[in-house]
Amino acid sequence: MARPVLHDAVTLNHFGAADRLDVLRDRHAHLDEPRWAGEVKREIERGVSPVNPHCKRVLEEDWLGVPFEISPQDQKAFLFIWIGLNEGRRPPDQHRGEGESIFLAETFDGVFATDDNGAYDFACNRPKLGRARVIDSIDVLQEAVAMGEISASEASDIAIAIEAAERSLRPLHRGKISPAYFQ
């Protein structure tokens, strides 16, 4: 059994914007399900528009499987994560996809993939996940290079394409993207 990777909408949209969802598929499609949460799919569906063609691309990826819905019995545990992810100005109404993904990664002994810096940092601090079980797009690309699935310059081009689509990588990576960063 291989740990499932729960993909946040930000990361799926990053690879969709670079039109390289195949990299994610090759890295994670062979791992266990679930691969995305119900709210992540709904967030991407809400984003579908002519100016966001990547959302449609993500929704067409069959390998993501059936999005997992949080069961009513787990609502309180999920809610506590969701509250912790929000800024506290009003009862939580944002970051739901991140919350569901973190909850599922913990429940299924999996890995959480996100490029949202706040959610990444939060998940790293979670005792059930820790830094070893949280990844971002750059981690995926570095692994793909290490496994010989893509070249370092290809990885660099994908990262540049993500940023060119006005999508943000985590601050840690900004200004460092070059083939050398992936070797």
């Binding site: 309180k76 912790g84 800024e87 009003r90 009862p91 706040g118 940092d121 996940l129």
Partner: protein, 396 residues
């Protein structure tokens, strides 16, 4: 909780909020029979539906799932001192109570112990206010250097275990609010109001918290004494901020004249109106005198003062508070919760007015356990070659 219990709870809360089943169905995007099935326990509530139900009813989802929690005790609509409901303040305090619930669930509680105020008889509101003010005065240290507002807020946190948050409120008409429940006493002050009024609002909210009159959330849009609870809070604030003995001392030193009135305002950092009401409360002026003073207003007093220094000191009281002040006890708990992965950086960043990414970087650098500050200081000792060198690294 099973479907049956959750369903019953949703129906009760819906009825309390005065929301029709058809309106809830519309908000959920289901038909009325769907709501009926949920409320009768025939079908489970999906997680995204639970949040929508809570939003529609103006409550926390935890109020549905945890019937004995603080969130369940908070009103579906804030009890306001006027008929106008301030939803943004209600939402803010509900969200903070949710964060409190999450932290408490992981045993992250306030370090400082709360001190139990004396039990009072709220029907005798005047005596109750005096008793509570005397009790509070022993625990509150007003410090003119720090300012009366900040020293009261600090004393409330350090001495009484009551958090104080000051920020600009989305609704500029709200003066302040409080969670009066002893599980999570919390005072919220709108920064967008004159300093003198903000100080009185802070003391007024403290009165509500200490009185524990059964309400769990109060929101003030004005400070009129429309009921016993409000009168008690006003009387408490007057007693605490303007002690009788000190007022009498000022009047004795200056005589009963405009300069003395100005001195009372400056000494206690209160508004002209608060001072006039206090003089009436103490029987120093009668009702007619009170109304006469109120009719000549603050401008009338200013016109009687010759010294520009005296007039400037009084005008300062009308300057807007205009400061963000994070709640210290909650910040401490959030920092512990952050390091344990209970909360993200977002609520901290929001309260500290920081960029979340910058705060993550700052807090990550503090995790470097190998830092030896004593060693760093010892090894860094020694003269520089020139004065230029010593100032070369001066921060801007």
């Amino acid at each position: 909780m099973g479907n049956d219990e959750i369903g019953v709870r949703i129906r009760r809360l819906r009825e309390r909020a005065g929301v029709q089943a058809k309106d809830l169905a519309e908000a959920l995007g289901i038909d009325a029979s769907g709501v009926s099935n949920i409320e009768s326990g025939k079908r489970a509530v999906k997680t995204h539906e639970l949040a929508q139900i809570a939003r529609t009813l103006g409550i926390s989802s935890l109020a549905i799932l945890e019937p004995n929690s603080l969130l369940a005790r908070l009103p579906v609509a804030a009890r306001s001192s006027t008929t106008t409901l301030d939803q943004s303040v209600h939402d803010r305090l509900t969200a903070l109570a949710e964060i409190h619930a999450v932290l408490s669930d992981s045993s992250i509680n306030a370090v400082r112990e709360q001190t139990e105020p004396p039990k009072i008889d709220p029907r005798n509101w005047w005596a109750a206010a005096r008793e509570l003010a005397a009790w509070a005065a022993e625990r509150i240290k007003f410090d003119d250097e720090r300012g009366r507002f900040e020293s009261l807020a600090t004393s409330m946190e350090d001495g009484l275990g009551i958090d104080v948050l000051v920020e600009e409120c989305d609704d500029s008409g709200a003066l302040g609010a409080a969670i009066t429940d002893s599980e999570f006493p919390f005072v919220y002050i709108n920064a967008n109001q004159p300093r003198a009024r903000a100080l009185f609002t802070l003391a007024h909210e403290l009165g509500h918290v200490l009185a524990r009159d059964g309400a769990t959330l109060t929101v003030e849009r004005d400070l009129s004494g429309i009921n016993t609870s409000e009168r008690l809070a006003n009387a408490f604030a007057s007693e605490l901020l303007m002690p009788q003995a000190e007022i009498e001392e000022i009047l004795k030193s200056y005589g009963k004249n405009a300069v003395a009135l100005g001195e009372i305002m400056k000494r206690f950092q209160v508004s002209f109106e608060s001072m006039v009401y206090r003089l009436h409360n103490l029987g120093i002026i009668n009702a007619e005198g009170r109304d006469n003073f109120l009719s000549i207003r603050f401008g009338g007093l200013l016109a009687q003062l010759d010294s520009p220094e005296d007039r400037a000191g009084l005008l300062e009281l009308r300057a807007t508070l205009d400061q963000k002040r994070p709640p210290r006890l909650l910040i401490e708990r959030l920092l512990r919760g952050y390091s344990q992965g209970i909360v993200s950086v977002r609520p901290l960043a929001e309260m500290l007015n920081q960029d979340p990414d910058d705060l993550i970087e700052l807090l990550s650098s503090q995790k470097s356990e190998s830092l030896d500050f004593t060693g760093l200081l010892r090894n860094s000792a020694g003269p520089e070659t020139s004065q230029e060198d010593r100032f070369a690294g001066q921060p801007a």
